[in-house]
């Protein structure tokens, strides 16, 4: 298990405790919520036409991989993640569901990927901002291009805070964004947000991908909206498990982070709470 201090030094580290059971449950919930709000497993090509082999990078407990494997038994779907625990759990889940076409491998996405050239028709990755150092992004996208088949595609999806009405949440989120900036994981010049979404198209273009398309998505998780409960729980876990990282990066104190957390949880339950998350998916094709 990586400590937060290690995470500030190690390029492949996760700012959360990726082995945490709470984080694992959160990621599986997040997978469902995000997929639904992105219009399905692959809104860019819903029928998965001409796709026989798929890679999901940083698959966590394998939610998206299992969904694709279930919906398309004829497609081989591979998930990779740095966490041995996540991969073991993903394998156990695939086994009880009889998903013979889902495969999970332990692999560090910040290092050269252990796949031959031209291996995959589709490469998918979501929310890599949480573990990838800003200098590693271009290298990883180059690696993706190498293992993408000619005519194949890549889809990257990242998130930014779209804003909320909760002062407690906004203060806590600012500290999180600032800590990410200090750890070299943010692209926001002032550290107010993640700043990753404007970069995605640029990375793909620089790596030689073509026919680049961008699709925005939002999740309105204001009180009363369908996504409120799931997103509230998502933040409830995330803002708790990220606290050791915030303290290690010295952007807050134990007293302050505890007070802001309690404040945010109460404000997010209010009848007049309003909030939006903003996602961007960027699709590119290898010529």
């Amino acid at each position: 298990m990586q400590t937060p201090l290690e995470s500030s030094q190690n390029e492949s580290a996760y700012v959360f405790d990726s082995e945490s059971a709470a984080e694992m449950a959160r990621l599986l919930d997040q997978d469902l919520l995000v997929t639904k709000n992105m219009g399905g497993l692959l809104a860019e090509r819903p029928d998965f036409a001409n796709i026989q082999r798929v890679l999901d990078i940083a698959c966590g407990p394998g939610g998206w991989v299992q969904e694709v494997a279930f919906a398309h038994p004829e497609i081989e779907v591979v998930g990779i993640d740095i966490s041995q625990t996540m991969i073991q759990y993903a394998r156990a889940q695939a086994k009880v569901q009889g998903l013979d076409n889902a495969r999970f491998l332990v692999m560090d996405a910040s290092k050269p990927l252990d796949f031959p050239d031209n291996s995959f028709d589709l490469i998918n990755a979501r929310f890599m901002i949480s573990f990838l150092h800003s200098t590693t992004w271009p290298k990883l996208i180059q690696e993706c291009r190498r293992i993408n088949r000619s005519g194949g595609a890549i889809r990257l999806t990242e998130v930014e805070n779209g804003g909320t009405s909760s002062p407690g949440f906004e203060k806590l989120f600012s500290k999180f964004a600032h800590a990410l900036q200090l750890a070299g994981r943010s692209f926001s010049p002032e550290g107010h947000n993640f700043g990753i979404t404007p970069k995605l198209g640029y990375f793909l273009r620089e790596a030689g991908y073509q026919r680049i398309r961008k699709t925005p998505h939002i999740i309105d998780y204001s009180t009363g909206e369908d996504a409120h409960e799931g997103t509230y729980r998502d933040w409830m876990v995330m803002l708790k498990v990220v606290q050791p990282f915030l303290l290690a990066m010295k952007v807050t104190t134990p007293e302050e982070v505890d007070r802001l957390y309690q404040q945010a949880m109460i404000e997010m339950r209010a009848e007049d709470f309003t909030a939006i998350s903003y996602f961007l998916s960027v699709w590119g094709e290898k010529p």
């Binding site: 945490s20 059971a21 694992m24 759990y89 889940q93 569901q97 009889g98 876990v237």
Partner: protein, 338 residues
Amino acid sequence: MQNYNSEVKDEMQGSQTWRELLGKILQDPRERARIAAELGVNPLTLTRWVNGESNPRSQNLQALLRALPQYRALFLESIPEEFGQFFNEAVVKEDALQEIPAAFYARIFSAYAELPDILRSWSICDLILQQALQQLDPNRVGMEITVVRCMFPSEGQKVRSLRETVGRGTPPWKRELQQKTMFLGAESLAGYAVTTGRPAAIQVHEESQSRYPARWVDREESAAAHPIRRAGYITGCLLFSSTQPNYFLPFRLALIERYAELIVLAFEREEFYELEQIGLGIMPSPSEQQSYFSTFSRRVTDMLREAAMSQQAMSIVEAEQVVWQQIEAELLQLARFS
């Protein structure tokens, strides 16, 4: 038995493949419905396998062997011809699929040992619901699992109702983890399981009038409830709904028992009650309850604001508990008058 087997052998001699054998078995419509339910697949799917229009997953084939033990040897002769050696290996592993995987036990114990109080109960329930759903409904024919809890009783009083707290399902039910709100009482299957301390299953919707109390929801064809027990004390139950009749067969009920034992770790010792402490009332219908929940958030916010103004320390969990108790009292009152 020998005669029966030889009849089966005779049948097989005329059948060249496992698909043809299955086709003959499915000529009996009752058998067809039973096998479909046991495998958790649509009856049409069975026909597609027989016609070679689609292939079962290895897990389906294993379930087929379980559903037709008298034909096991014959299937094992012909299935590997089509699916190869891997199928024999899969059969060896079959028993393991009827148990909760070790990796999953490890996750729950890790959550129990490491998570802070504020995340522990929720995360354990979340993980267990995710895993139980995958294992009990791998073909996603439609299942919902709900954690039902005893309402915290007032001083010197008995537990008067249960409340659905959290649940998730496969379509037609919602797949996302949901906070639930509905109160249940003696009129429900969950109420029966909690007040008797015994599991209960209704295999066919129509049976409900004669055997157990139940309130059915749309598309629900069979249901099961298993109490969550710790040393004879009870905190609630796990409630299962299926879109398929006869879905809760013995091997699924055995798995449900394992999950009901495991979820004990999500709750504190003081949240369990002796059977004598549980005296459930009758709760109003879901539609009658609905209007009482619309003000929940505002009431919790008001309570927290009042506590802050009077310099009292109150967490959001405590405030929610008080408001749930207020709503419970109002609903019991409503049921009494109606």
